[in-house]
Amino acid sequence: MTPQTAILVSLSLPLATCILVALAGSRPNVRDTISFIAGLLTFSSVLSLLPYVQSGVYPGISLFEVLPGVSLAFEVEPLGMLFGLVASGLWIVTGLYGVGYMRGHHEVDQTRFFFFFAFAITAALGVAFAGNLLTLFIFYEVLTLSTYPLVTHARTPEALRGGRIYLGILVGTSVAFLLLAVMWTYHATGTLDFTAGGILSGKVDTPELYILLGLFAFGTGKAALMPFHRWLPAAMVAPTPVSALLHAVAVVKAGVFTVLKVLVYIFGIDLLRDTGASLWLMYVAGFTVLAASLVAMTKDNLKARLAYSTISQLAYIVLGAALATPMAVIGGGMHILMHAFGKITLFFCAGAINVALHKTEISDMRGIGRQMPFTMCAFVIGALSVIGVPPMGGSWSKWNLALGAVDAGQLVFVGVLMVSSLLNIAYLMPIPIRAFFSKPAPVTDAGHGNHDGDHHASDHHDGMHEAPVLMVGALLFTALGCVVLFFYAGSVYRLLEPIVR
């Protein structure tokens, strides 16, 4: 298989999955098997591109001309390779987890769910492999629209409200700011191709550079930079697998990936450093890091707390891009991977707790460690990785970010990273501590009224009551991933190194 074919196969497999899933809708077992196999095939197809990228050859393919001189084109470079691997790899795991969750939770319209899920992966891979800004923008919008039915899956008034905020902010910022920025770039340079070293140098005056950067940074609503972060907590009305894969991995990472890619390949980090145009962005990102962490502490709903934690972690990556030193950019890129594994583990745990024990509020989770030991152990590992404690993968990306801040001479952001780590501990660690060391709460009927036959968990607190095996397997796998990545961070670093040369 030539790399060009591999790109097309990677993009079209999830799309074909959509159709097959829709056709097999009446037979859930067939449908879910198709999803799983397609996930494996997609991942191996993406993986087959890795040797090329590692050897410095960036395979690309151009499909057709959308506008004069701008085609729908794909090119796989290290950053996109990494994002593509993360999205397609975690799709398999989430697929398994999703089957367990959707069945365990007795969700309706599962076919529609898996249909749009596969569609969203196509869009995420499209973003990852985009060869120019227009292609990236197209798939960015497709990703928004394909995840809207997932966010509003429950169709309750609450879901509808969440969906409005989701769509309003994401489409609003992208049309009003990002599209304008893309057009401005085209107007100024006559091209939209991602080029090493950037294309804006010498084409735009410094004051305009500030505005353009602002349009790009805030226009990428998916990066959840404050004050355009509200959509992410709103999206938590979605079923947990969606929150896990899309709102901890694919969608939000597509946002920060866009920011990284624009700063590296459109602006060029040299231009940013020389003009200092991104200084204000550092402060906005730094503010978001701290403010979101503080808000996270006030949230009692586990998914809401994790959502704010995600906002804070995404700002790390934006900060890395804005610092615009090689080390910081690589740190930001690595954080895409590291945070993905850490946060997806946490979300998986939240979903498992919801399915097994029907608990969503942190204050209800006292003593659940005895019922769900595997889940809560995985939670600890995920939390430690997000905090950045060795030997978890998350420690390396934070280390590189801090080094990058020192390189840039912005010591204040080293401080921000430190404080933020402390805040992470403060809002994440109480959950497992409470789960393992507090006494279980006395049984109350409130909130447990709708138990079905399979789940009598809270009636006997001492016995083990884990979620379905598919879910526990998935979350243990990603937790293991957090540890393994600590040891393989070097290869990730080497993969990303060429982008800042």
Binding site: L67, I138, R164, V175, A176, L179, L180
Partner: protein, 494 residues
Amino acid sequence: MFAEHLPILQIVVPLVSAPVCVLLRRREWSWGFALLISWFCFGMSALLLQRVLQTGTVIYYVGNWAPPWGIEYRIDAVNAFVVFLGALIGSVVLLYAPRSVAAELPGVRANLFYTSLLLCMTGLMGMAITGDVFNLFVFLEISALSSYAMIALGRDRRALTASYNYLLMGTVGATFYVIGVGLLYMVTGTLNMVDLAIRLEPVLMTRTVLAAFAFLTVGISLKLALFPLHLWLPNAYAHAPSVVTAFIAATATKVAIYVFLRFFYGIFGTHYTFEVLHLDMVLVPLGLTGVIVASLVAVYQTNIKRMLAYSSVAQVGYMMIGVGLVSVTGLTATLVHMFNHALMKGALFLAMGCIVLRVGACELEDLRGIGKRMPITMAAFVAGGLSLIGIPLTVGFISKWYLVLAALQRGWWPVAVLILLGSLIAVVYIWRVVEVAYFHEPTGKTAEATEAPLSMLVPTWMLVGATLYFGMSSTFTSGVARRGAEVLMAGLAP
């Protein structure tokens, strides 16, 4: 022989077929005949467009009388494109028509209806193809009179008042046009467009020409529904039968915009229009106000056809901004949006026609849960709506791209921002429908609804398919539009 007379056959065939259609009293026969003619016209218009793109301007003397005495048909990339558009929409709408007409117009004799539709199509294509300003007036009235008649056929009695008001305003607009043409004739003694452009040049600064300019501006703006001269449009679109709405919404205002371009870029010339009289300083603010105000009004409509009608006013605003930006890119935006908007608005109104057939209403509250009952129709509606918003991979995006680019090239920042703001308002009004259609259980009128018949879904999806296809690969549409824009910028006078 056939190829040589293509320009006149384009008009004569539907014109002569219209009375023949009256004689075919069986519903199916008259429909079949009209359909045949419309597809024949479509084929001819495609050939004509191809010829123009290959060999440049096609000139045809009607009755072999040389201009300026005879009527000249002069077809360049601009009007070939407009004729093609009119024939395309006409043939698709006719394919769609029989079920919808049978359901919505039970008491109407179908042959007369199809006659009117053919006449309307003739008028619109004639307006586009002719090179004679008075001949244009005649075609304008042919299309206008037949559309008044068709609008009045709507089931609701409000269709009658809507049609009456349209008749008043349309006639005032057309009469203003005739006055303008008369004044031009007084100073030049000619009615041929090219001849006019040449002879006007030395006398442009006279008061007569200035008066003609004013009358023509207002008259044509009335016909093309430039805000605030759009008052006839929302009611006419809302209460007309679905087929008629789809046809008129997709074509009538576009042809009027073409006439506007022909007069102010071609006959008066860009120098006089924009550098001496600064018409752009009127068009762009009015266009922008139209975009914002009409979009906001659309948000508050409860009747979806009316909502789409206000959206049309906003879309005319976009096109006129492109006209007012006075550049090749701006005109490309206008021309490409004329085509693109016809596709998407046609698709949307055809989808509404399917809903009216099955549900019997197009009030927002009657459409609860329609997404479950008529998934294919609603999918078409959503696709058309996304295009209206300007989501990439749909034609709406291509139009917005050129328009914003033109605004940036002229250095008009706020215009670019406001254009994008208009898209955001479109999100709101489209999403109101989506939420009602998909987030409620079917109740009341929708409870019993079933999917529309294939004979209506296929034409609807033809337009949706075109919306997506030309959104992904705009080489053809924007290529033709650019050719047209270059022709327009060059002016008519040699």
